[in-house]
């Protein structure tokens, strides 16, 4: 019910002339939903960076499951860790190595892929619903709808969607949470392949419980923070860490407002402007036409 009250206030505010501002930035999401609007529990993943050994089995499994081209450097090569990698159109998940502030002998490995936001910015940005949040949790990509405008890339706070710039018929590519595999009752390929249990697949609600349990039981081992619990309104894929998240490649300045909220104020003013503006302008026009006639002037050749 708070939502409808907020919308009401927004419309009222817009009518009062605040119009396009919406005050979106300061708005906070009260609670991150754990289910879709249909009541289906969101799936998610819990990635425990304290357990990851950087074996890159997830990368290899992802490559096979999504039938991506084989990389030039083998999945067992350690040389890839020499520089920080981003996902690419041909690699939906990449593991990066970071120096460990707590224990210099044991570097931290962090995998990077789509976070499957609870309220994804890419899906709300897409004007033809090529990016779509599924009720089960993952954000998938419909290649037949996409027009290649790349607004999803502009909007994604994690810079995950990648574009095939070198193709004459390019698509946007990113992790889709192995949607088909999960629908068949299997786990996403990366979670199934992980030998250390560092990647845990399950219901987002249960994973949060598991994450909290780990932090309570091992307060010295973990930071008191679950990355993705509240970030940008909650993400489906969440992380645990022993060291500050900012030291292992995470942005900690993203805030807890979900991104569709940033434009909802503006968008809610749109129908209002579309209706009120013509009414006001027609009024102006009649007012001025009448006055001109009274003055005995010819009101012109237009009307």
């Amino acid at each position: 019910m708070t939502i409808s009250r907020r919308n009401f206030l927004k419309v009222a505010g817009a009518a009062g002339g605040v119009l396009l501002a919406g005050g979106a930035r300061s708005a906070r999401t009260a609670q991150v939903p754990q289910t879709s609007s249909e009541g289906i529990e969101f799936n998610g993943m819990l990635i425990d960076t304290t357990k990851c050994i950087g074996c890159r089995a997830c990368e290899e499994a992802c490559n096979e499951a999504n039938k991506l081209p084989k990389p030039s450097v083998s999945f067992s090569a350690e040389s890839v860790f020499e520089e920080k990698r981003e996902t690419t159109p041909d690699a939906y998940v990449v593991v990066n190595r970071f120096p460990n502030g707590k224990n210099p002998d044991k570097p931290v490995f962090v995998r990077r892929q789509c976070m499957h936001c609870v309220e994804p910015s890419c899906a709300s940005a897409c004007l033809c619903k090529a990016m779509e949040k599924m009720p089960e949790g993952p954000t998938v990509y419909h290649k037949d709808r996409c027009m290649g405008c790349r607004y999803c890339m502009i909007s994604c706070p994690f810079d995950i969607p990648k574009f095939e710039f070198d193709s004459a018929s390019p698509f946007v590519r990113k992790c889709i949470g192995c949607y088909d595999r999960v629908a068949k009752g299997e786990q996403p390929a990366c979670a199934e392949a992980c030998p250390e249990g560092a990647t845990l697949f399950g219901k987002r609600r249960d994973l949060l419980e598991e994450a909290r349990k780990r932090i309570y039981r091992n307060p010295d081992r973990y930071r008191q923070r679950i990355y993705g619990e509240h970030e940008v309104g909650g993400t489906g894929y969440m992380y645990l860490s022993a060291v500050p998240f900012r030291t292992i490649g995470f942005r900690i300045d993203l805030g807890t407002t979900h991104y569709p909220e940033l434009t909802s104020g503006f968008l809610s003013a749109v129908p209002l402007v579309d209706i009120l503006w013509p009414a006001v302008l027609f009024g102006f026009n009649y007012l001025i036409s009448d006055r001109e006639e009274e003055r005995g002037k010819e009101s012109g050749d237009e009307e």
């Binding site: 033809c128 004459a168 026009n285 237009e302």
Partner: protein, 441 residues
């Protein structure tokens, strides 16, 4: 449209014997399409080479993908084809809505002589910039998806922008069509168009409001990527307001060139009132710029970003806001007091640079300012941009030298009388050819 051609007049092609029949119309068109005047002028040669080169680059882009000709990357998905061609170009097309509003809604007759040129400018800008947008889309053949409705992304600002973009281009076409009717001497068609003028303009102003604001609204979804000095929840309002002075300054700049180049097309009334018009535009521009700067200051202080001004990006921000918005505002005020049209024209150029800087800052320069490897446009991106502008100038010149855009529209009183004598009960039909008169008698 009927398929049996010749002497039969086809619907939609009425009026004078010349253009009332398909054959006559085609002959007229063929004759009008022929270039006039000297062909090998320096302007034609330079822009011709730019256009040919641009077409070659565009061919490569469609054969081998965007990566082959642009410097776009995974970190910078949008470059100057969006940031300059679309985002900046549309701002400058804002003159059309603001001027039609003044003349037709507020009935400020003073600006009537420049309405057609401004609307033409706006229409061509929209046509060519949406064309440029197609070059940037990865899968332009899917551009109809959000229009035909196989998947409506209602929640997207871009969806709003696309629809308003399309509809406003149609509105601009209707707004410029009286000039086309004058050119073809389609008297009845012109009368029908004039009946819907007011409604069209009101729809146009509404669409422009949201469309200009929406282009800014696109960047609301990138709070963590745009430098805090430029990111604001007020971006839509700022874009809307600045499109007004962008429009004003573009009208002033455009008239500088048209008055010099097409002086033979101007009538005396237009020439005589021009100084007054320029000073009026300067006043309009100055007051809007004051409001804009006020909002900018509020953003700056409320966001507690004053400290950021003393960083390299802060200095760059000051160049844009103080150097190319505040300074032109002051100069406009001086020009109005001194009644100096020269100064108005110079200031309009400064203002335009300020708008370009602002749009490029938000879409390209202050976008991911923290990235180690920055985007800068490739020579081919710049070349294609110049080619798009050149093509627009060619079409602009073609229209100006053939249709009554700058001078007074032709006098159709005689033809109007014939129409009136035929009675208002006549069903609206867009043909006044000889065969129409037979059937009406």
């Amino acid at each position: 449209m009927k398929s049996n051609v010749t002497p039969m007049p086809i619907p939609g092609m009425p009026a004078a014997p010349d253009t009332g029949t398909l054959k006559g119309f085609l002959r007229f068109l063929a004759q009008e399409l022929k270039p006039r005047g000297k062909i090998l002028t320096p302007f034609n040669v330079v822009t011709g080479i730019i256009i040919l080169g641009g077409i070659a680059i565009i061919a490569v882009r469609f054969a081998r993908g965007l990566g082959a000709v642009t410097n776009l990357s995974q970190a910078y998905p949008w470059g100057i084809w969006i940031g300059f061609d679309v985002v900046t170009g549309v701002a400058f097309a804002g003159g059309a809505y603001i001027l039609t509003f003044a003349v037709h809604i507020l009935k400020v007759k003073k600006y009537e002589p420049i309405v057609r040129a401004t609307v033409l400018n706006g229409f061509l800008a929209y046509v060519f910039y949406s064309g440029a947008l197609l070059l940037d889309l990865g899968r332009p053949w899917n551009v109809v998806n959000p229009i035909i409705g196989n998947a409506f992304g209602y929640g997207s600002v871009l969806f709003l922008v696309a629809w308003h973009f399309l509809l406003y281009t149609l509105v601009l076409f209707v707004e410029i069509s009286p000039a086309i009717a004058d050119w073809l001497k389609w008297v009845k068609a012109k009368r029908i168009i004039q009946k819907v003028t007011t409604a069209t303009i009101i729809v146009g102003v509404t669409l422009s409001t949201l469309h200009q604001a929406g282009l800014g609204g696109l960047f609301l979804t990138a709070p963590s990527k745009i430098h805090p000095l430029w990111y604001s929840s007020n971006i839509p309002v700022l874009f809307f307001i600045s499109s007004m002075f962008a429009g004003f300054s573009m009208i002033i700049i455009e008239s500088m060139f048209t008055h010099r180049i097409f002086s033979d097309r101007l009538d005396e009334a237009h020439r005589a009132s021009h100084n007054k018009i320029l000073l009026g535009l300067a006043k309009g521009s100055a007051s809007v710029m004051a409001a804009y700067l006020f909002l900018k200051v509020i953003d700056l202080t409320h966001g507690h970003q004053l400290g950021l001004l003393l960083t390299p990006m802060g200095y760059w921000y000051l160049v844009e806001v103080a150097g190319f918005t505040l300074l032109p505002l002051v100069l406009y005020v001086v020009a109005i007091r001194e009644q100096s049209t020269r100064l108005v024209q110079g200031t309009a150029i400064l203002t335009a640079i300020g708008v370009i800087l602002n749009r490029l800052n938000i879409s390209v320069i202050a976008f991911k300012w923290y990235e180690a490897v920055r985007y800068y446009p490739s020579w081919m991106e710049i070349w294609v941009t110049l080619a798009v502008i050149s093509m627009e100038l060619w079409v602009f010149r073609w229209v100006i030298t053939r249709m009554p855009i700058l001078g007074a529209p032709p006098d159709f009183t005689a033809e109007e009388k014939t129409l009136n004598n035929l009675g208002d009960g006549e069903v609206v039909r867009w043909k006044v050819s000889s065969s129409w008169k037979v059937s009406a008698s």
